[in-house]
Symmetry: C2
Subunit: 239 residues, 2 copies
């Protein structure tokens, strides 16, 4: 029997090159949307609603009585209640609540994946690495690892997560894809020194300027919020 295929897409601007139809698409936005999403769900959030813009965030938040959240330049967006830090969503705050989250790169890619006919859309980051890998192996469908990038530019943190997934699941897939080969190489090269290497990335420099170092180290820590956010009827719930 032929194994399903796996491709890594390094930027939303390259997504049109891949066939998403009937595939599982993993949305990857390590710093910090997909790290925050799995953390909120792991800590008992009922659901996370990913929305593309601030007005829609406020509107849905008001309609369903959800927690509205989003940041620009490391600060909570005026009119929203919370930010985009996983540390803001401990169990004693988020349990039983719905988080309405607006982010730039990750949300955009998620909606693009849906429009392209993906069978399943899930979100991944280091805190839920194993949950993502287990799901991909179980589904036995073609996979696209979709890096959210930064304003369409390639970024290393999303690539390293793609590499971590590939390193774990590759026996189960047919992989003819230079992006995947590169991602796996980069992960193997840096997996034992992630905490230091990640400090060389451009996004680290951007966010560390806002004092978010602790947040960023959490985002590259494996399996500390190990649930699978699965997109279903407009919301992300534990799959």
């Amino acid at each position: 029997m032929n194994k399903p295929t796996l491709f890594t897409c390094l930027s939303p601007a390259l997504l049109h090159l891949y066939d998403l139809n009937q595939s599982v698409v993993v949305i990857i936005d390590v710093f910090r949307a997909t790290s925050t999403i799995c953390t909120a769900l792991y800590n008992g959030a009922k659901a996370v609603v990913p929305v593309a813009d601030v007005e829609r965030c406020k509107q849905i938040g008001a309609e369903i009585g959800g927690i509205t959240a989003g940041e620009r330049d490391g600060k909570v967006i005026p009119g929203l209640q919370y930010g985009n830090s996983p540390a803001e969503y401990p169990r004693d705050f988020i349990e039983g609540k719905t988080l309405v989250l607006t982010t730039t790169n990750g949300t955009k890619l998620l909606h693009m994946a849906l429009e392209c006919g993906a069978a399943d859309v899930v979100t991944g980051s280091f805190p839920n690495l194993s949950a993502v890998c287990d799901f991909l192996v179980k589904q036995n469908k073609n996979v696209i690892l979709g890096c959210s990038a930064w304003k369409d530019r390639f970024n290393l943190e999303d690539t390293l997560f793609a590499g971590a997934v590939i390193s774990s699941v590759k026996e189960h897939f047919t992989i003819h894809c230079d992006s995947s080969l590169m991602a796996e190489n980069m992960y193997e090269l840096h997996k034992d020194d992630m905490e230091n290497f990640i400090q060389l990335t451009t996004h680290w420099h951007r966010l560390a300027a806002y004092g978010l170092q602790k947040d960023l180290q959490y985002c590259v820590t494996k399996d500390v919020a190990n649930v699978l956010p699965l997109y279903k009827d407009g919301v992300l719930v534990v799959g």
Copy 2:
């Protein structure tokens, strides 16, 4: 004094994210356009005219009495005279002649760079690595290393060449770019095993099926055709 910047663009589909104005753009199409271009010029070709399509190739070839060349799927395109292999252009054949070359990925990127206001457009591959590096250091302008990719998909051979350039010139530039950091890492990881590693790439598999292994090994050999192809008034000449 501030050093000029250097960015690596991994695909023509990402070129719009970079400011090319007044920059030096290095067009990279290792397998095999930019390897063939420097080889023809090194062996005494008067000029290489890069053209986007077959009809234009025939037309210009007829007008100037040039050698028309181009391949699709590893075969010479019907109506053209030669292919896209550097081995086809030894000195005793190409000296004093003009090569009119149509390629898919490299030529497209070259024309895009010109439209974006690049100050200088040059082509690079392993056979002319040092000539490219020397030029970049001397020019002291901002640099974009432009990978031609394959039908807009990321490829490793172009990335490895970008990494080789960065590894050599990085002291002279300000580099805040995850693509560049990755390219340099990948080059350092594989520089002593290039001949084998390159056989894992998708493009190798595509071209090796046509019996082009020897060609491909040549394309990753450093400084064997060490001239600088510089684009000027519609043609590439030795800079």
